[in-house]
């Protein structure tokens, strides 16, 4: 009895507010709400909301953008985080200060980063256009351009994200026993070989964790869309999570909204499952030479 008493408050909280909402989300996605004559009427419609999505161009476009964003942003952030972590492993007099300064974006909330970057990328008076102007590059439209807006959001999220994910990789790198590198050096390994046969296998678990967690986080990336682009221009930044949010909060179409969220949740689980499946299997295959 005693253990359950200790467990009860956190367990109730976890079930009620973390797990149960997933089921509510799915359940409500099967319901159509009509507002005829001012009265709210709820009708259970099975998978009709999903059927509508199937013929919905906005939804497909949104899915496409989400796929594109996922394919670009996650490898980019992981590569940059890993590169930065490796750079910061070097011994230097100033390494503590340098590391601390690189952690700065972790302390800056995403809305803040979004607002400041939004002003930096302002097409008329922004800092970036001023700076590139010094090099003779003409002013760019950035967030108001269909072709550039998503890239700007990738840049903002990466600025904020790299430091955070780097922290895990740095901790993982520091955990690798120094003897491994010494042994590799005695065997005459080049720096690349050391990276390939010591660092990567030893860091595999951390990289996998970061990759999965980063992917999950980027599937729900929408603060820059809410604050800056509203999914535009011309739906170019209208990712699934934002489309779901907009359907619900702008158009009160909760059936559609929650169908989209449910689909996104399923996609997230599948992608993460695949990552775990493929990447962790490889883990056993590679041996430290």
């Amino acid at each position: 009895m005693v253990p359950y008493l200790f467990l009860a408050p956190a367990l109730v909280g976890t079930i009620a507010f973390k797990l149960y909402p997933i089921f509510i989300g799915f359940w409500e996605s099967l319901i159509y709400t009509s507002f005829s004559g001012g009265a709210e009427k709820r009708i259970f419609v099975w998978f009709e909301n999903y059927q509508y999505l199937f013929d919905d161009k906005i939804f497909w476009k949104s899915l496409e953008i989400t796929a594109f964003l996922t394919i670009i942003i996650n490898p980019l952030q992981i590569a940059m985080s890993l590169g930065l972590a490796l750079l910061l492993m070097r011994k230097s007099k100033f390494i503590r200060v340098i590391r601390s300064l690189y952690l700065l974006p972790i302390g800056i909330a995403l809305p803040i980063a979004t607002i400041i970057w939004g002003l930096m990328l302002d097409p008329n008076q922004g800092l970036i256009n001023g700076l590139i102007g010094v090099f003779g590059i003409p002013p760019q439209p950035f967030l108001v351009s269909e072709n550039q807006a998503l890239w700007c959001i990738i840049a903002i999220a990466t600025w904020k994200g790299v430091a955070f994910w780097m922290l895990f990789l740095l901790a993982g790198l520091e955990d690798i026993p120094k003897q491994y590198y010494e042994a590799a050096e005695i065997d005459g390994a080049t720096p690349f070989q050391k990276f390939r046969y010591v660092t990567i296998p030893q860091l595999k678990r951390t990289i996998l964790f970061v990759f999965v967690a980063d992917t999950a986080a980027n599937f729900v990336l929408m603060v820059p869309m809410i604050i800056l682009t509203k999914g535009g221009p011309l739906q170019s930044t209208n990712v699934l999570i934002y489309e779901g949010y907009r359907s619900g909060f702008y158009y009160q179409d909760w059936g559609r909204s929650l169908s989209i969220i449910t689909i996104l949740t399923v996609i997230t689980l599948i992608v993460i499952g695949l990552q775990l499946l493929f990447l962790s299997e490889k883990n056993e295959g590679i041996k430290v030479k």
Binding site: G13, I24, L87, Y102, I106, I116, G130, I226, T268
Partner: protein
């Protein structure tokens, strides 16, 4: 000789890359803080055409006074209240759960622990919309309850405490039990006082989660009296679109506190987050 030159060269390259990276990391921050101390027209003057003054701080506090006239103080107080209650409540219930997982073997413990870890993997923003519907059903919509209570239970914090409590010697706890201390006494008088480092890290995480949360407070508590700091900030950026100095001032204040805390307790923060003990 050539070897020596080569090594030097790689050091210079390293410094160059690090330096460029630092500029990109710090620039938005630096510019924002510098501009928050300027009048709006000065900000624009320094930008078009761009000159070095854009990166030098001004001396005006005008924007800071202005934001507090625009209800910024209210949202700061709200955020303090919500953050502090969330940290206190979250630390208590999650440490209790961590204690249960570490000290007892009971029916279903592995399954329950699996669920806790699973909940930690669900991104908060994905369940925000269904959770919002739930808040409306139980009448917590647009109240402080909605802002605080759903955020208390946290799989990561439970996990951190469990790991720590597993390391406390069993003999210590058995001795206390023999002396007649209740299980709650063991938890409260022995285990919790030992867990200061975890509590610091976990508390900091909970604080930062709440202080930086945006989407949930935006949808769960739309009344202006309940706005939290990030929500107010987001509102400023649309309502005062052209008043840049106020946006910078509000951002600076909102960003200041988490930064100070994270830098003060950098070791504990990194340990709590990454699970690796910092030297």
């Amino acid at each position: 000789m050539i070897m020596h030159f080569k090594r030097q060269w790689s050091v210079y390259l390293w410094y160059l890359v690090i330096f460029v990276g630092l500029i990109i990391t710090i620039l938005p921050f630096w510019w924002g803080v510098a501009a928050s101390f300027k009048s709006n027209s000065d900000i624009f003057r320094d930008l078009a055409p761009i000159n070095i003054r854009a990166f030098l701080p001004g001396f005006s506090l005008e924007s800071y006074f202005a934001i507090f006239e625009n209800d910024f103080g209210r949202s700061m107080l709200n955020t303090f209240f919500v953050s502090i209650t969330s940290v206190a409540g979250g630390l208590i219930i999650n440490s209790m759960a961590g204690f249960a997982f570490a000290q007892f073997r009971f029916k279903g413990d592995n399954i329950i622990f699996g669920f806790v870890l699973l909940s930690f993997a669900v991104p908060a923003d994905a369940i925000a919309i269904p959770l919002f519907k739930m808040m409306r059903q139980i009448g917590w919509f647009d109240t402080f309850y909605a802002l605080i209570i759903p955020m208390l239970a946290n799989g990561l914090i439970i996990f951190l405490y469990r790991q720590f409590f597993l390391g406390i010697p069993k003999e210590l706890i058995e001795a206390a039990r023999v002396d007649g201390l209740s299980w709650f006494g063991v938890f409260w008088r022995i285990c919790l006082p030992l867990s200061v480092p975890v509590t610091l890290g976990a508390g900091l995480l909970l604080f930062v989660f709440q202080w930086e949360s945006y989407l949930w407070p935006l949808i769960a508590a739309p009344s202006p009296e309940l706005h939290l700091i990030q929500v107010t900030l987001g509102r400023f950026s649309t309502e005062y679109e052209m008043i840049w100095n106020q946006q910078f001032a509000a951002s600076s204040i909102a960003g200041f506190l988490p930064l100070v805390f994270i830098y003060m307790f950098q070791k504990q923060f990194v340990s709590a987050l990454t699970g690796v003990e910092q030297k």
